[in-house]
């Protein structure tokens, strides 16, 4: 349970024991107050957390990628107008209202960043990892993407052009990686198991059949 250590029946923020850190005490007081004021509903808060911990995540984006790998007409729709194409899989909404999908190709690699904050395509990838929101990645992805990729273990040849997409507006970017070799005849579900979160940010590649075995 998300709130096994919490007490929703305790609306007035009475002393909750001395084991709380200052930030925990501050957040608990704030939540009690906002519930008491009627601005937020506790059940909605729990549902928000559950939604982004269990339902919205990179498994959604992996389905989109696998569909694009197996259905050329879908791939064409995805690359020309991504939001309605992704909605065909019943995926979309908050943080993904204006999706753009960019395709890797031989000699072409794409990388997504948000230098100004943490913009990230929530419906397909979920909430961003800490490193995506932290200064090292935001600072260097635009000036030294090859060096950043090397830190992820991805060493691209100098002949591969790198295009970095800085998410400075409400458009949200996802990378369509290349389909791994040796996957001929695989169905969508099996292909989706190769698609990692990092492959859809551009900081990684999909797993090979050998890596997935």
């Amino acid at each position: 349970m998300a709130h096994e250590h919490r007490d929703h029946d305790h609306p007035h923020g009475h002393p909750h024991g001395s084991d709380l850190t200052p930030v925990e005490a501050r957040v608990r007081a704030l939540e009690s107050l906002l519930v008491e004021k009627g601005y937020v509903e506790p059940a909605a808060l729990d549902a928000l957390v559950e939604m982004y911990e269990t339902k919205v995540g990179p498994h959604n984006g992996a389905r989109v990628v696998a569909r694009a790998w197996t259905d050329p007409a879908f791939r064409a729709r995805l690359l020309s107008d991504a939001t309605p194409a992704i909605a065909e899989l019943d995926i979309g909404g908050r943080g993904g209202e204006h999706m753009v999908v960019v395709a890797n190709a031989p000699g072409e690699h794409n990388l997504v960043v948000c230098t100004l904050c943490s913009c990230y395509p929530w419906p397909v990838l979920g909430l961003p990892p800490v490193w995506y929101k932290a200064p090292p990645y935001r600072a260097r992805a635009v000036i030294d993407p090859r060096g950043v990729l090397a830190e992820f273990g991805l060493h691209l040849p100098e002949s591969t052009r790198i295009t970095v997409w800085d998410s400075t507006a409400e458009t949200r970017y996802m990378v369509l990686p290349e389909r791994p070799a040796g996957t001929e005849g695989w169905d969508e579900a099996r292909l989706a198991s190769l698609v990692t979160r990092d492959a859809m940010i551009g900081t990684g590649l999909p797993k090979s059949p050998e890596q997935a075995a």
Partner: protein, 221 residues
């Protein structure tokens, strides 16, 4: 504003440190801050640009020393007080000592999934024709507004080329302060790495930046 949020191109932060099998949240209080920020945003008292503006208005030293959800928490408290929804004293004690101020709407568990699935689009009908087309040469304006902007420092004054025309979108600069949505044409603009970072830059790299029309000047062909 030229704040600590505008990180593109800075040095000295060290390597990127991915965390294997990273959880969505790292502590219970992070879960609650995320949910509170989402739910309070839903009341319509402020908008997403206002939230970003509040976060990046932290003093630079504090911004850089704070964890992500600590920044969210500080900004949330600031906005709640600034919009008169509760006083700092009430927030510190966790006890209401004044009547609630009416809010536009309250997020309930029953409407969460359909409402978030529908999303909150930022595109708007255009107020006039687009000034630029794909392929046009443009220069990022050298602007340094003290308020919110989505024009990163690292492109200001630099020459680029329009890659894509997205349509008209809410302009963050005015929307953040409640001064209106002022829909503006939004473009993807391509910058060669050497244009941004000089002759030592990777010759086989480019950066695409989403740019609103008021951030751009025309360049003679």
């Amino acid at each position: 504003m030229n704040g600590a949020q505008d990180l593109g191109g800075m040095h000295g932060f060290g390597p990127v440190r991915p965390e294997p099998d990273e959880p969505v949240f790292h502590a219970e209080w992070e879960r609650r801050v995320f949910a509170l920020a989402m739910a309070m945003g839903f009341t319509g008292t402020w908008n997403l640009d206002g939230s970003r503006s509040a976060r990046e208005s932290l003093p630079p030293a504090e911004y850089l020393a704070s964890s992500y959800y600590a920044i969210w928490l500080r900004a949330l408290e600031t906005q709640i007080a600034a919009h008169g929804l509760a006083s700092p004293e009430e927030m510190a004690r966790g006890i209401s000592d004044a009547p609630a101020r009416p809010v536009g709407r309250v997020l309930t568990a029953g409407i969460l999934e359909p409402r978030f699935r529908a999303g909150f689009p930022s595109d708007r009908p255009s107020q006039g024709p687009a000034r630029f087309a794909a392929g046009d040469a443009v220069r990022a304006r050298n602007l340094h507004p003290v308020g919110h902007t989505r024009l990163p420092r690292y492109v200001r004054g630099h020459l680029g080329r329009v890659e894509r025309v997205h349509g008209a979108f809410v302009l963050p600069d005015t929307n953040a302060t409640g001064a209106g949505e002022n829909p503006a044409w939004l473009y993807t603009v391509a910058f060669a790495a050497a244009e941004l970072w000089g002759p030592d830059a990777d010759p086989n790299q480019r950066v695409m930046v989403e740019m609103f029309e008021p951030y751009l000047d025309a360049v003679a062909a």
